[in-house]
C-alpha cells in the first residue's frame, strides 16, 4: 500500500514539472518581461529606464534560462526560470507585483474560502443524495419525470443568475442578510448563509441528476433483485443495498474535489466580497498581477494531483475489488 502511494506520488513530479514549464513559457516567453512592464506602467511614453527599474524591483531583469555573466551553478540558478518557476516547488511563491508576500496572503485567505466551500459541499451532498434517493424510490412515475425536468431546468440556468437573483431577493427585498462582506469569527455566519444557500441550490440540478443515474444503475443489478426476492422492503433495499454500493462512485467523486476546495469559488467570492482565494485570483486577474496568477496556477495543479492521488487511495480502501496495480 505504502509503496503504491509513493509510486503514485512520484508520478506527480513530471506532471508538475510540465505545468511549471508551461506556465513559464506562457508568462515569460510568449510575452517578454518588457511587455509586462510596459503594460503595468502604461503603454505610451514609458522610458526604458522606468522599464528597467520595474523589472529590477521584481527580479525580472535576469536572463530567462542561462546566465552568462555568472559563474558555475549560478549560471543556471540566477535566472528567471529557476528563481520564479522552479522555486514554486518549495511552495516559495515569492512576492506579488505589488510587493506583498503571496505565501502569507494565501495562508490568510484560504480560511474564508473553506468556510464557504465545506458547508456547500456537505449540505449540497446531503440534499442531492436525499432528493436522488427519493426520485429513485418513485422511479418511472410522474414524480420521477417531473423531477428530472426540474433538474434539467435548474441546470440550464446560469450560475450568475442564482447569485444575482438570490442577492436581490434575500438581501435587497427581504433584508434578511447583508448583501456582501465578511467578518472574522462567529459574526461571519450571517455573511456566509446566502453564498452557501446559493451554492447548494445552484448545484442541485446537475448533482441530483448525476446521483439519480448512479442509483438507477445500481437498482438494475442482480443483488438488488436477490434482496427483493428475499422479501426485503423497498426502503431497506434502497438504503442498505443501493445506497451503500452507489456510495463508491459518489465518494470518489467527492474525494477528487476535496483539495480543490482550498481554491475557493471565483464567482461566488467576488460577488459576495468574501476575502478568499477565489476573489484573490479574480483581483489578480483584473489587476494583471502575473506573479499571483502564476502561483495560483501551480497551487491549483498541485491540489488537483493531490485529489487524484486521494481518489486512487480511497478507491482501494472502499472497494476491495480494485487491485493495486
Amino acid at each position: 500500500m505504502i509503496a503504491y502511494i509513493i509510486r503514485r506520488a512520484l508520478y506527480a513530479i513530471p506532471i508538475l514539472l510540465g505545468v511549471n514549464i508551461l506556465t513559464f513559457v506562457l508568462f515569460f516567453v510568449v510575452n517578454s518581461p518588457d511587455d509586462m512592464a510596459r503594460m503595468h506602467l502604461g503603454m505610451k511614453r514609458v522610458t526604458p529606464e522606468a522599464i528597467e527599474t520595474w523589472k529590477a524591483e521584481r527580479g525580472y531583469d535576469k536572463p530567462l534560462l542561462f546566465n552568462e555573466s555568472s559563474q558555475g551553478v549560478d549560471q543556471f540558478t540566477d535566472t528567471i526560470f529557476f528563481q520564479k518557476s522552479l522555486k514554486l516547488f518549495q511552495f516559495d511563491f515569492g512576492s506579488s507585483d505589488s510587493d506583498r508576500d503571496i505565501g502569507y496572503d494565501i495562508s490568510q485567505r484560504m480560511w474564508p474560502s473553506l468556510a464557504i466551500a465545506i458547508p456547500v459541499l456537505i449540505v449540497g451532498l446531503m440534499v442531492n443524495i436525499t432528493y436522488a434517493l427519493l426520485i429513485a424510490f418513485f422511479r418511472a412515475t410522474y414524480i420521477d419525470i417531473w423531477s428530472v425536468v426540474l433538474c434539467v431546468v435548474m441546470m440550464s440556468i446560469s450560475g450568475l443568475f442564482y447569485i444575482i437573483g438570490g442577492q436581490y431577493l434575500v438581501s435587497k427585498l427581504l433584508h434578511l442578510v447583508p448583501i456582501s462582506g465578511y467578518d472574522t469569527g462567529f459574526s461571519a455566519v450571517k455573511f456566509l448563509i446566502l453564498p452557501v444557500l446559493i451554492g447548494v441550490v445552484g448545484g442541485i440540478g446537475a448533482g441530483t441528476r448525476w446521483y439519480r443515474t448512479l442509483f438507477l444503475e445500481e437498482i438494475n443489478r442482480d443483488y438488488v433483485r436477490t434482496a427483493r426476492a428475499k422479501g426485503l422492503s423497498e426502503v431497506v433495499v434502497l438504503f442498505r443495498h443501493v445506497l451503500k454500493n452507489a456510495m463508491i462512485p459518489i465518494l470518489t467523486g467527492v474525494v477528487v474535489v476535496l483539495p480543490l476546495l482550498f481554491m475557493g469559488s471565483l464567482i461566488t467570492e467576488s460577488f459576495f466580497g468574501i476575502p478568499g482565494l477565489g476573489s484573490y485570483t479574480i483581483d489578480a486577474i483584473s489587476r494583471q498581477d502575473f506573479a499571483i496568477v502564476r502561483a495560483m496556477v501551480f497551487l491549483g495543479s498541485v491540489l488537483y494531483i493531490l485529489g487524484l492521488l486521494l481518489t486512487d487511495i480511497s478507491y482501494t480502501l472502499v472497494d476491495p475489488r480494485v487491485r493495486l496495480s
Binding site: 510540465g18 508568462f27 503603454m43 434539467v152 494583471q288 491549483g300 488537483y304
Partner: protein, 471 residues
C-alpha cells in the same frame, strides 16, 4: 446597399463547420447504423421541438455571420454612395431600425419616457424637471399616457394575427407535402397530423414552430414602434443586443469543439491503439493540461493575449476584427482546456476496439495501422464524438457568461450575454431597479441552454443503447 464583403476568421470557420456537418449528414444518411439513432431523435417529441428552437437560433447566428461594408449616402460627396467604415452583418442589415434607433440612456421595456428625470425646456421658455419623451420609443403617440395601452394591444393583436396567418400557411403546405408523400388525400393527412398519429411528431414540431413564429411576429410588430426590452446605459436597444449575442454564444459552443476535435480524436485513438510509449506520452500531456484549473489557464492565456494586442495594436484593421480574433483565441484556449475528457474516452474505446475480432482479423491480413484506424476504429467511435460535442455545447455557452464576468471572456466591445450580465449587475443597486438587460440575456441564454440540454439528452439516449436500456 452592400459594399465589399468581409470574411472574418470566425465566419470562415463557422461556414466550414456548416460544410462539415452537411457532409457528415450526407454520410450518415447512407449508413444505417448512423441513420437509425437520428431517426429515433426526430421521432421523439422533445427532439423535434428543441430542434425547431435550436434552428431558429442557428438561423439568426448564421445571418449574423455574413459580414460586409454597407454603402451609405455621404453628405460630403453630395449624396453619392460611399462605403461605410463600419462592418455590419446581414442580420444587422435586416434589423437596421433596431440598430440605429438609439436613445439617450436607460428606458424600461415598451416605455415612452426615459428612465431618469431631466430638465426639459417647454416651448414657452419655462424649465421643468420631468421624464423626457423617448426619441423613438412610442414616438408616434401624441398623448402617450392615454393611448399607450391601446396602442400596445393593437400592435400585439396585429402581430398575433400575422403570426397565425403565417402558421396556417405553413401547416397547409406541410399537410400537402405529407399527403403527396404518403400518396393520400389532403383530408387523411390533416387528420393524422391533428390527432398526432404520425411517426415523426409533426404536430409537436408545428406547435413549437407556431410559438416561435408568434413571438417573432409579435416582437417585429412591437419593436417597429417601441424598444420591447428597453434600452441600456448608452441607449442601445436591449432586444437587439440579446439577438446579436446569439452568434457569440453559438460560436463559443461550436467552434471550441471544432478546434479541439482533431487533436482529441487523433491523440485519443493513437494512445489507445498503439499503447506503449505513445500512450504514456499522450497520457502525460493530457494529465498535465488537465491538472491546471481551467479558469486559471484561460485567464493566463487571455492576459497574455491582451498584452500582445495592446503592444501590437497596429496589426488590427478594425475593432470588429480585433474582437473577432479574441473570440477565436478564446475558443482555442477553451478547446485546449476541454479536449482532455474526450481524449480519455476515445483512448479507452480504442483500447477495447483493438482487441475486437474484426480488427485482429485485419491485422492478420496485413492491413496497415493507418488503414485500420480509418476503416475500423474511427467509424466505431464516431458516436462518442457526437455525444460529447452535443453534451459540451450548453456548458460552453454558460461558461462564456462566467468568463466574460471575470473579464477574461470575449472582447468587451462584442455583444454577448456575459457582457450584458456584467454591465447589468451593477445596475441592480439602482432605485428603481434596471432589470431588463439582465432578464433579457438570462432568458435568451436559458432558452438556448435548456433546448440544447434537452436535445443532447435525446441524442445521447439514441446513440448510447446501454443507457437506453437502463432507463
Amino acid at each position: 446597399m452592400i459594399g465589399e464583403w468581409v470574411i472574418l476568421w470566425t465566419d470562415a470557420l463557422i461556414f466550414l463547420l456548416l460544410l462539415f456537418s452537411t457532409a457528415f449528414g450526407i454520410y450518415a444518411a447512407r449508413k444505417e447504423h448512423l441513420r437509425g439513432p437520428w431517426r429515433l431523435v426526430v421521432r421523439s417529441r422533445v427532439g423535434v421541438s428543441t430542434l425547431v428552437i435550436l434552428s431558429f437560433y442557428v438561423i439568426v447566428g448564421l445571418l449574423d455571420s455574413v459580414h460586409f461594408y454597407p454603402l451609405v449616402n455621404s453628405v460630403e460627396k453630395g449624396g453619392a454612395q460611399t462605403q461605410s467604415a463600419e462592418v455590419i452583418s446581414l442580420f444587422d442589415h435586416l434589423v437596421t431600425p433596431l440598430r440605429e434607433r438609439q436613445e439617450k440612456t436607460y428606458s424600461a421595456p415598451l416605455a415612452t419616457h426615459l428612465y431618469a428625470k431631466e430638465n426639459i425646456e417647454l416651448p414657452n421658455g419655462e424649465v421643468i424637471r420631468d421624464y423626457p419623451r423617448l426619441e423613438f420609443g412610442g414616438a408616434h403617440l401624441t398623448m402617450p399616457e392615454v393611448e399607450w395601452s391601446e396602442d400596445i394591444l393593437r400592435l400585439s393583436a396585429m402581430g398575433v394575427i400575422k403570426g397565425l396567418l403565417v402558421s396556417i400557411v405553413i401547416t397547409n403546405i406541410l399537410i400537402m407535402l405529407l399527403a403527396a408523400r404518403w400518396n393520400g388525400t389532403y383530408g387523411d393527412a390533416a387528420k393524422l397530423l391533428i390527432t398526432g398519429k404520425t411517426v415523426i411528431p409533426w404536430r409537436t414540431a408545428l406547435i413549437t414552430l407556431m410559438f416561435v413564429i408568434l413571438i417573432l411576429f409579435w416582437s417585429i410588430e412591437l419593436s417597429s414602434h417601441y424598444h420591447i426590452l428597453g434600452t441600456d446605459k448608452v441607449g442601445e436597444d436591449v432586444f437587439y443586443q440579446a439577438l446579436k449575442s446569439i452568434r457569440t454564444g453559438l460560436l463559443i459552443g461550436t467552434l471550441t469543439t471544432l478546434v479541439m476535435l482533431p487533436a482529441a480524436i487523433l491523440l485519443g485513438i493513437m494512445a489507445g491503439y498503439y499503447r506503449g510509449w505513445v500512450d504514456d506520452l499522450i497520457q502525460y500531456v493530457y494529465t498535465t493540461l488537465n491538472s491546471i484549473p481551467g479558469v486559471l489557464l484561460i485567464a493566463a492565456a487571455i492576459l497574455m493575449l491582451q498584452i500582445y494586442m495592446s503592444n501590437h495594436a497596429d496589426e488590427f484593421n478594425s475593432l470588429v476584427e480585433r474582437a473577432d480574433l479574441r473570440l477565436l483565441f478564446l475558443c482555442i484556449i477553451l478547446g485546449v482546456t476541454s479536449w482532455t475528457g474526450l481524449c480519455r474516452l476515445l483512448r479507452g474505446e480504442a483500447m477495447k476496439l483493438r482487441e475486437v475480432d474484426y480488427v485482429q482479423a485485419a491485422v492478420a491480413f496485413g492491413v496497415g495501422h493507418f488503414q485500420i484506424i480509418v476503416r475500423h476504429i474511427l467509424p466505431n467511435v464516431l458516436h462518442i464524438v457526437l455525444i460529447t460535442v452535443v453534451l459540451d455545447f450548453s456548458g460552453l455557452v454558460l461558461a462564456e457568461a462566467v468568463l466574460s464576468y471575470v473579464n477574461i471572456g470575449v472582447d468587451p466591445t462584442m455583444n454577448s450575454w456575459g457582457n450584458m450580465i456584467n454591465s447589468a449587475r451593477l445596475e441592480m443597486a439602482r432605485e428603481p431597479v434596471v432589470w431588463w438587460s439582465l432578464l433579457a440575456s438570462m432568458i435568451f441564454m436559458f432558452v438556448l441552454v435548456l433546448s440544447a440540454n434537452l436535445f443532447s439528452d435525446v441524442v445521447r439516449d439514441a446513440f448510447d443503447p446501454r443507457l437506453r436500456s437502463s432507463r
